[in-house]
Amino acid sequence: MSAPILEMTDIQKHFGHIIALSGVSFDVKAGECHCLLGDNGAGKSTFIKTMSGVHAPTHGEMKVQGEPVHFTSPRAALAAGIATVYQDLAMIPLMSVSRNFWLGREPETGFGPFKRIDFRKADAITFEQMREMGINLREPEQAVGTLSGGERQTVAIARAVYFGAKVLILDEPTSALGVRQTANVLSTIDRARKKGVGVVFITHNVRHALAVGDRFTVLNRGKTLGTADRGHISSEELQSLMAGGQELAELEASLGKTV
């Protein structure tokens, strides 16, 4: 199909003697949801931070829309259209939804010393964007703390999409959520994808990944083990790739395939 928006080739990241990533290749296209699966300690966090500009890779190439890039800060990545929604750092609970939504990019009105936030505009747009994502706010001044975990993720996703993210990196957005909230977040991911955003969905939950993913890449011990398209890989195969095969097969036998 189309060329990838974000393309990472043979990314390596060393911290002193520790090799956190030893050759990760990954790409995401517009309008697709590419799931990155990995167990705890597989290197997911390091890889996210490399994509979002927190760490510079030790080795490897990163391209955005075909152009090589070297991000020096999260802000630089954001400017290039790569937005990251962190699991528990998405929102500031004591602040209102509207203030959170516009944080760092507040619309202003007035001149000189009388320059102030245009709350009328900010609130109206926030309200509208939230409704589009399926959250009916009581009022835009509602504190984020009153929202559920799933709703907070949704606000963060809506914010990234509204501000023109081309690639949206979601760090375990569903791992702390209940069933219903998970369903809401997955449908939010679907909405973002339909708007043409390339979604990188990081998770260790195979079922959540299979629910929305178009492609699947498994990360194990700092390496990618190849990418599979939707329909070409089963949940069992993904599961055992994540765990590194053997041990899990033994475990599964004893647990009666319930993992």
Partner: protein, 370 residues
Amino acid sequence: MTTTTGADERIKHTSILRRALVRPELGAMGGTVAVFAFFLILAGNTQMFALDGVLNWGTVSAQFVVLAVGVSLLMITGEFDLSLGSMVGFSGMIFGLLAVYVGLPAWAAIGVTVLACGLIGAVNGLLVIRTGLPSFIVTLAFMFILRGLTIWSAITFNKQPVVSGIADISAGDPIAWLFGGKALGGLFVWLGEQGWIATYTRGTRLGRPIVDGIPMLMIWALVMVIVGQWVLTRTRFGNWIYAAGGDPQAARYIGVPVARVKVAMFIVAALCATLLGISQAVEFGSAASDRGMMKEFEAIICVVIGGALLTGGYGSVVGAALGAVIFGVVQQGLFFTNVESSLFRVFLGSILLAAVIANTYIRRAITGER
């Protein structure tokens, strides 16, 4: 951009009470009303609510307000500055020594003092940011350093802890009147002539009003509260102040320059203390090395009564100012009612505890934590 009525209907379900409850100033407003009611009943027939009585507790309140504005903004960014009381003494002393011993004109001494103290505020802030240490411990160190320097410099240059002779230097200075003078003098003379306020009935000041103006510090306090609240609640920078205190890491990820915001608020708080220090020096005509003792804690109490959370991210300048007024009214009111003044501390401790507990519940109501 039309909002449908379907979503709007739910606004009505937020009770007015609940909306008011999540406003940080609410507790302080209630407290202010209660304190005034209390003293109107107990001291309504004393001089407390006559014009000179009002100016008496008004001036004391203004001193607390000036500090509380800076402390509230700093506390909302999630930091403390325990060196502010020492800064009050330090700034007054630097100003006094520069004016009296170096011989600078008052305006230049004020300028140098403001620069030096702003710089110390920045050092405090940068140390906290760079080391990642709690501001509590870094500024506790500066509380001792600044107090020590204040006493040392007074003794070294002056051989005694009080530097006097500032009045002669600040008289007729182009800007010193801003810190120690009185405003609206003409208005008060006119009010006296109209017979609306008390005037002297004998002596050399016959016919002049007893209260001859509003202390400049009250004007400063009023302007600072208005500007502070406006910046905090209406501007982009104010939004960053809340964010820096609410969750610095999340704010940083979204592109808020958290370190800059925090350092700026350390500077603002230091300058508020400097304003108080210079004002007192000009007002009294002297600088004393023990000025501002305990002021850092008193200001924190004002801010907490005003509804700010000690953990940052929540609070209001208006609330802090009301907390300061409660503080000033009670401190001076006990004098008018002849209540033993040591009970003032009992009152302070109790109200502080009550405010902190109330604030914790309010935070839970906002964030839905259990």
